[in-house]
């Protein structure tokens, strides 16, 4: 896999976002480095999910959203008129809070991305099979599921579903993976498994992870962003943010005084 050519995979400059007339993001300027895992922490309702969903422009599904400012993904301004949303979303994968495999077989979930991005009938079966095996191996599902690739994905355990949701991004060779509290629906064991998985993907993808779990942020992330009321308060290496927070609001949060 080629190295990240831009030091920063995700950048925003003066980003504001409104739901109707409620402002959810305020003047956020952030630069998220390529190839590392960056955590996004902050109290409930501070805009983490909203911020995350800006990078693949999936916020625009809701009719009442308006944004201003600049967002760059891999150096490219994603609001430029020549940007193709489908291509953008191909290179920026997203994992949701609740595992949401499509109501299809395990196999079809993994190849879904390939199918929608290729003309009908242009993908040889062998190529799809290989992609499925590779993706499922990456997420440690292959050994458990290789004999049941045609079971409905919605029948899997939650942990397996979430891994599958990560696996289905991989055949599209994304550079960025956005995860919104990927472990919040899982038990301790499932959480551990997903964390191990993130760890094994580290370095190959730029990952931005929303989490409510301070311990998790410390375990898996290299840098962290602390947000409060739609404002980016502090962005530093995880160690610095947790041990030597510069802003007293960050300090208050990580010491558990609110949130």
């Amino acid at each position: 896999m080629e190295p990240f050519s831009n030091a920063y995979s995700l950048e925003t400059k003066g980003l504001n976002l409104w739901y109707g007339d409620f402002q959810a993001l305020r003047d956020i300027s952030a630069r998220i480095r390529g190839g590392i895992i960056t955590g996004l922490i902050g109290p409930s309702g501070c805009g983490k999910t909203t911020f995350l969903r800006c990078f693949n422009r999936i916020n625009e599904r809701y009719g009442n959203v308006s944004t201003s400012g600049e967002i760059r993904v891999l150096g490219k301004n994603i609001y430029e008129p020549d940007v193709c949303l489908q291509e953008l979303r191909k290179s920026v994968g997203m994992v949701f809070q609740r595992p949401n495999p499509l109501p299809l077989s395990v196999y079809e979930n993994v190849v879904f991305g390939l199918r929608i991005h290729s003309p009908w009938g242009s993908l040889p079966k062998a190529e799809l099979d290989a992609a499925v095996e590779e993706a499922l191996r990456e997420v440690f599902l292959w050994d458990g599921l290789k004999d049941r690739l045609d079971t409905p994905a919605t029948a899997l355990q939650l942990e397996q579903q979430q891994k599958l949701c990560i696996a289905r991004l991989l055949p599209l060779k994304p550079r960025v993976i956005l995860m919104d509290e990927p472990c919040s629906a899982l038990d301790a064991e499932g959480t551990k498994a997903i964390e191990d998985l993130m760890d094994s993907l580290r370095g190959r993808y730029t990952m931005l992870i929303v989490t409510h779990n301070m311990a998790q942020a410390r375990r898996v992330t290299e840098e962290c962003i602390y947000m409060l009321n739609g404002v980016l308060v502090e962005h530093a290496s995880t160690e610095d943010l947790f041990l030597y927070p510069k802003d007293e609001r960050t300090e208050a949060y990580i010491q558990g005084r609110y949130g």
């Binding site: 693949n56 979303r89 994968g93 949401n100």
Partner: protein, 302 residues
Amino acid sequence: MVGWIYLCGVSSIIFVFSIFFFVFREGAPFLRDRFDFKEFFFSPEWYPNSDLNKRYGALALILGTASVTLFAMLIAVPFGLGAAIFISEFCAGKFKEALKITIEILAAIPSVVWGFIGLMVMSPLIIWATGAPVGLNVLNGGIVVALMSLPVIVSISEDALKAVPDTFREAALALGATRWQVIYKVLLPAAKNGLLAAALLGVGRAVGETMAVYMTTGHSVNIPFDSRFPLFHPLQSVRTLTATIAAELGEAPHLHPDPSGNYPPEAHHYQVLFVIGILLFAITFAINLTADLVVKGIRRKG
């Protein structure tokens, strides 16, 4: 008080059974004395009034119903599905509400008004456009019935699409699917049971429709196809099962049996109309039951 509520609740069961009992009782003597399976289902000769040789072949009537229903569904299913997709996936807010209300109003237009439109508006149009000698035929009835069954198809399909969790749409969109890919790769498969049920209820509506069909299909007992149109000929006039009952029940004498329990042959006309009623009952019952099971199927899975 509780007793009253209970009565209200079970009244529908009582009504269904009483109606079925009544229809069956009226038709039973024909089934016992005169019914000939082969004649009824395979002969197009419907001469219940003939003085010398009464014949009760319902094939033409069955085919009349079938052709009008089929033609109506060919129009209403794709169109209704399209409308449902439009309402559920492409519209929001006030416009969506307005559309849904309009479709409900469509459902509230009385049958006889539709018949009137078929008679006065569509018929001349059909004559003008196709050069057919009469404008009252399968085409006319089919279009009218299509419009009449549209509301139920649209609203049930829309419910089915609405029931697909939004997370599926989001998952597909986030993988870079276009709107259309989301629709045909995710939504339609996920909602297929509900959509099938919608189509079935549309069929049920079409089979049972009476007055509008009576007024628009030309009312002639006819097998609506020939070698050139093996499926059906849209410009043939037909007569449906329902229209036959509506038209003939008034003139068929309701006679009583002699003391030994035998009916005169003239009594059979009235009775055979009830046998047609039983047939319609059976068809719509089967359709509704299937639709119900299909819908329950989704619930159990999802």
